[in-house]
Symmetry: C2
Subunit: 361 residues, 2 copies
């Protein structure tokens, strides 16, 4: 299977990526523009099935690291991520056969498409999260022992770094500090690995899933369907809540956008309250004092009428929203997975309960 993406596909994929972004990961808009521009220039973006990646292929993830807000202010020329890819290729003395997404959510779902188009590489239909997460070690590759380094980092001025660390937590720690000095955004090429490792460790089917999600939302009305229902159908998700945002508290600590949003129920949820805790991404949803969803499962806030996802930056008083929960990839539900991205890692003193169980109470 090979899919050559057209502009509609890119739009759908971006929208789907925003749903899987669970409020964080940045708006895929910039990456979408870059990818569409590449297509307009006659370049091709080709998605291939994960299974078709050769065992001995050289696979590299490409991403933007840092604050999405800064990424939008310092609009990338499209060359930056390619510069980091060239730099890691020079280091290894070989060409990356496949460029992959570190996460299937937010900005980093579309950036690799633009890079792949510019540099003429293929993109496998898989990623390292199946959603968005804030730290470099929070990928399924990490669970399978794949090293984040050697990794390269580049800024828009021409500074570059090659990092080689003793483990992936050190990669996160040092790369984060460099990103701050770069001015808030770095373009990185990371998790260089064999095709064999990629096939073993990836979350499969994430790009086509994004396209299907975007399509379902955008075409719902055409099919006489409510966009929210279409979204729940295509994701296998659960409706956690509907209501009006009545309070948003924000704290910027430790380089993350933390906070809580409180939603007062409407419709079937009248008389109830939902509190969402977020840290870049939505992490925990508490309905009337009971946890009904938590990381690593996906919690996404959408506009009630259009089912368009709302990022945590855009949460504000008065907004009428629905909140949906989507089961995460099973790789995250293992003891090793939960150690890396379970609620306790993020500082919540609760055990993870799979959303399909938690939501029923």
């Amino acid at each position: 299977m090979e899919i050559k993406l057209n502009k509609e596909d890119i739009k759908n994929l971006s929208l789907g990526a925003a749903v899987l972004g669970t409020g964080g990961g940045g708006d895929p808009y910039i990456g979408m523009l870059m990818a569409m521009q590449a297509i307009e220039k006659g370049k091709e973006i080709t998605i291939v099935d994960v299974e078709s990646v050769e065992d001995d292929a050289f696979v590299v993830a490409v991403a933007g690291m840092g604050a999405p807000v800064v990424m939008i202010e310092k609009i990338p020329s499209g060359k930056e991520a390619g510069f980091s890819l060239t730099s890691i290729e020079r280091y290894f003395g070989k060409r990356a056969d496949y460029v992959i997404s570190i996460e299937a959510g937010g900005l980093n779902s579309t950036i690799p498409l633009a890079t792949a188009a510019e540099m003429g590489r293929l993109v496998p239909d898989g990623d390292g999260m199946g959603r968005a997460f804030p730290e470099l070690q929070m990928v399924t590759f990490h669970l399978y022992g794949v090293k984040a380094t050697p990794m390269s980092m580049a800024d828009e001025k021409g500074n570059s770094v090659i990092l080689d660390t003793v483990d992936n937590y050190w990669a996160e720690k040092i790369a984060r500090a460099i990103t701050v000095k770069f001015g808030g955004v770095a373009w990185i090429s990371i998790y260089p690995m064999s095709g064999k490792d990629f096939k073993r460790a990836a979350v499969r089917g994430s790009l086509t899933k994004e396209i299907r999600i975007g399509e379902a939302i955008r075409d719902a009305k055409k099919h006489g369907k409510n966009p929210l229902d279409a979204l729940l159908d295509v994701t296998g998700g659960f409706l956690l809540f509907e209501g009006k945002i009545v309070d948003v508290i924000r704290r910027a600590t430790g380089g993350f956008a933390r906070g809580e949003a409180t939603i007062e129920g409407l419709g079937d949820f009248r008389g109830s309250r939902l509190v969402i805790h977020f840290q870049n991404e939505n992490l925990v949803a508490i309905r009337d004092g009971r946890v009904i969803a938590s990381v690593p499962d996906l919690i996404t806030v959408i506009e009630r009428d259009t089912a368009r996802p709302v990022t945590t930056e855009r949460l504000k008083y008065g907004l009428r929203v629905a909140v949906i929960g989507i089961p995460c990839d099973p790789k995250w539900r293992t003891p090793e997975g939960l150690k890396v991205v379970g609620p306790r890692y993020f500082g919540y003193d609760i055990d993870y309960v799979p959303i399909e169980v938690a939501v029923k109470g």
Copy 2:
């Protein structure tokens, strides 16, 4: 000329380096132990004349970066600096023929000797400062357009980084942030350059000068001489003050140890006061309200009786000291040099006046 250093030479060199360290750059003690250990293991430390370095030789500076205090707590195994050298050699695909000192003061005067001994390299009799300075771009190499990067950084845990920046100020900025994340100390290989560039840009004769200074202080009494007089003779320095420290104010800001020491005059200086401003190194000396010495000239505080240098960390109430000033290398007295290390760069609103003029008032 080739000098094979023996243990006495190393002791003398360390003492001389502490004098040229102008209060900063760390105590050369650790590097001295490492160098002496190498000699005890039968390894050789050979100093060669700068002029004998071949034009096409590959020359690399090796240093510890960060807080000397941490360097003493995390005693290096002696392999760390070598690890950073190996890493930059791998990057360039060639062997460093010569290992050099970035500064002729403090710890970084002895670290390259230990590395050169361990790795079997020669050490030219020159460096990049002729004294100690706190930042990476504060070297004469910088004045001659030599790039600090590609540079390598390593910590004691096994993390490593290759940096390539658009200019030497960026190298300082990014490397400093990485050093903090490494835990306060990084081992770096920096300013990779040709023998031709090194010969053009180096401060020459600094290692043998250090040895002569140490020898002069240690052997003064044997020659029936006062150690302070011996020190002034061998350095061509000026006696700026003698007295008792009556006040020391310290502020740790921006990763630097800043502060002022006030000294009340004794002997010929009775009735006078000297205030020294420091920022890791001693930067400005003000006698009775008049600046009598400033960077880039050297200001060193020594114990009054023994002429042993006192680092800024060791300045304390009651200590009887002499303060000497030594003219810096002429390369620093150019407009370009003063832009990089003159008093204004350090935030003092004064013009540089060469010490031999300033001291006479």
